[in-house]
Each structure stands twice: as C-alpha cells, then as structure tokens.
Symmetry: D2
C-alpha cells in the first residue's frame, strides 16, 4: 500500500491512527478481492468490535508499506485477524495489529443490530488464512 504525505504527523512519522486505516484496508481488500463481491452489500456485514496495535519501529511517507494478513480465529459470527506492517528491506514487522470483525445484520439501519452468522462467502476466504497454532 502506498503512504501519503498527510500520514506523517508533526514528528515526521506515520500517525498512530493511520496504521488502523491500513489494517482496515488490508482486511477489506482481501475480502473484496478474494470473494469478488461488494461485501458492503451482503446481508451480514462485519463491524469492528475491537482493534489493537503494537508499534515497533517508525514508518512513514514516502515509501510504500507491505502488509501480511493472517487469521487468528474464525468463529460463528466473528473473525479475528492479525496484520503485520513492513517498510523497507527489514524482514521485521514495524507494527502488528489485531482486528476483530463481528458480523451483524445489514438491513436494520442505525441502532443496535443483531449478530448474524458469518456469510459463507466470507468464511470461504478467511479460513484459508488461518495460521496453525504453534
């Protein structure tokens, strides 16, 4: 993924919130590209229930960022992803994120929305990313 001038804050490095834009993009790009569907129009959609990030090394504009995406757990109605961000020649992740999607009804409009089972199309493209427990 490419970085942007505005990603860097006053200290000259990527602002901590921007990492989450990249996590979000890595997850959704995988879902959209591997299903070939507009996942935003499925009857159940993933809403973000929990996220976290540990920042190991500073990254920033203008070099691009490589991402590694694995699935930690596939539940009945949730998926937990782990995302590594890499920049430059180092093989070590500059940051590691965790991203929890819970699937909810896409037709209820604003307000509390009932949890729904993971759509089969989503399950089919997240299960292959599961990392065997080590």
């Amino acid at each position: 993924m490419t970085t942007r001038w505005a990603d860097d804050d006053v200290y000259g490095h990527m602002n901590n919130a921007v990492y989450y834009e990249l996590f979000d993009t890595a997850v959704n790009a995988h879902l959209i590209e591997s299903t070939g569907l507009d996942v935003r129009a499925l009857p159940a959609v993933g809403v973000v229930a929990e996220t976290s990030c540990r920042y190991f090394r500073e990254i920033g504009f203008p070099a691009p960022v490589d991402t590694g995406l694995v699935v930690e757990r596939v539940g009945t109605s949730s998926v937990i992803y782990r995302i590594g961000l890499f920049q430059g020649d180092s093989g070590e992740a500059a940051a590691e994120g965790r991203f929890v999607h819970v699937y909810v009804d896409n037709t209820s409009g604003f307000g509390d929305r009932p949890v729904r089972p993971l759509p089969d199309e989503i399950r089919a493209v997240v299960e292959p990313l599961q990392r065997p427990a080590g």
Copy 2:
C-alpha cells in the same frame, strides 16, 4: 470534541481508525493545556508504543463526542492512558481506548531513539489523573 462528516464510513458510522484520532487528541490536548507548554518541543517526547480500542456502540457525525481520560500507570519513561468516548445522553461509554506513550529523545532525528525519563512537566500533569486501583 466535534465530529466530522468524513469520520463516517460507508456504513454511516465513525470509522474505527478515527477513534484513535480522538484518543491521540484527548491525551495531547490534556498535556498541552495542563502544562501550558508546546510538548512537541520538550527534550523528550511521547511516542506511541501501543494502542487498543473496544467498540461498544456506534457513534458518528454530527453529534459531538465527550471524552473521559484517566491514567492507568505512570512509569519511569512511559504513561498508560485509558480513554472513554461518549456520545448522546447515555452514561455508558461507546468505546474504551488504551494508549501507551513511551518517552524518547527529541533531538536524535529519524531512526532509533533512546528512551528517556518522563519530563517533570509531564509527570506533574499525568499523576493527578491516576485512577486508584480496584
């Protein structure tokens, strides 16, 4: 804090990354306002080592967001904050964030920067926010 039209994503609610812009702002606004200093110009500055957020209820534009900021721990060279975000009349937090600042040398330019003790000016304004354990 006020919300922005662009904060909401395609599902009509605040994008998960934007919450971290609010956490960042809550922490730094407290430091700047309560010290009366430009904290970005101190010899040691806080870089973000770890963040996380649990999302309980959807929030978004146009209503403002109230924040509650407490300090979980003050270390030799780090501060751990917890931030609650509230919107509307509900007394329950819509999201709860955790934000870890580690203080590093502000004069070393880009690259690895040595950890430094918390500046006294910072310590003086974060210790009063400590929430008693239990």
Copy 3:
C-alpha cells in the same frame, strides 16, 4: 470545531486536506441541524462537484477553529457555499473555501446519477444564508 493532533503535518500546521474536512462538516452540519433531517436519506443528495481553498495564515492543533458559512448562489439543483475558517483572536480568516454541491438522485446506486432539483427542505435552509451581492 475542535482540531485534532493528527491534523497537523510534519511542518506543525494543519495539513491542507484537513481544511476540506472542516468545510464539508460546516456545510453538512448546517443542513442537518437546520432541517432537523438526516439529509443523507433524502431522495436527492448533494454530491461535491468542485471545491477550492485559499490559505492565508497557518492554523493547527490544539486551538479550536471557528467557521463562517455563507451561500454564494442557490441554483435549480446546486448550491455554492463560501466558508471562512478562523482561529484565535484575529478577526481575519485564516482560510477561505468554496464548496459546490450538486443534487443527484439518491436511489440509483453506484455510477452516473441524474441531477435532481434541490429538495425543498434544503432550499429552505440555504436561501437565508445568501450574502447580498456587492
């Protein structure tokens, strides 16, 4: 409107793109608050056809920004706004933006959408903001 830590770029001032987040917010907040409606759900919605900004003085985090919103022109299916941004005690605008909304059909989904007349609810709240010529 409140500013955010991440608004400032590496030069320590608000990034030029962020001004447009404030323009967008000023326009839509006026429409939502003064109509009392969720304008995103009206049969015709305003899409942005043209924007511009002249930057006169640097602004940035942490002080809030005041906005002045006027309407330059109300057309059959478009509205042209001018927005001034102010920070601090100065009575002079730090930036002046221009923002053109064209109303299009809200039900056609993605792709080219036919232009529609301005909804009456919108017309009623933008005409009073017209600044007399001269």
Copy 4:
C-alpha cells in the same frame, strides 16, 4: 496510489477531502523521488497557498488511483501544479486538481515566514514537468 477503506464516506465514494491527500502526495512524492532529498529539511520549504479540485466521476475503494502530474507555472518562489486522478480503464480524469506551493523559510519556526526563492534542487525537477502552453 492505493485507496483505503476509510477514504469512502457514507455515500460509498471517496470523500472530497481525500482527493487533496492524493494531490499532496503526488506533488511531494515527485519532489522527494526525483531530487533524492528529504525536501522537508531544505532551507526553504513549500507551503500550500491555494488548492482546488473539480470532481467529474466518482471513484473509491478498493481500486488504485493513477495520477498525472504537470506543472502549470514555475515562478520565482512558487510552483503551480495540476494533477489528474484516474481510476479504472477510462482514459478520462475522474478529478482534476490545482495545487500552489509557495516557498518560505524553513528555520523561522511558527508564525509568519518570509517567502524565499525556489531552491535550485526543486527548480530542477519541476521545470521538466511544464506543459507547453496552448
């Protein structure tokens, strides 16, 4: 350049302010890559004096955006760029931006900063992008 999930707003298309993040990035990436310098550390730096954008067609996540960058005018202390954004197979620009950099002293800190001549390193990489008039 890659797009991000958070770029799209509630209408499912790239928010109007995000286009300016792309303009900014196109200009600065060209300057950094073609000079081989950290342009943020030169004695004179470009601050943004004026920007504008006309939006012709909706673009958004997840497809990447191609950019075309030309220079409209090189002055003593300013450069005017035009940037076209393209997405998908269409040869027509989805948006066209205008971006005016004025060079100012990089050492004066916050506040009013005197205008400076364009650094030679910058001039050398923007003059070749000039589009012949007519």
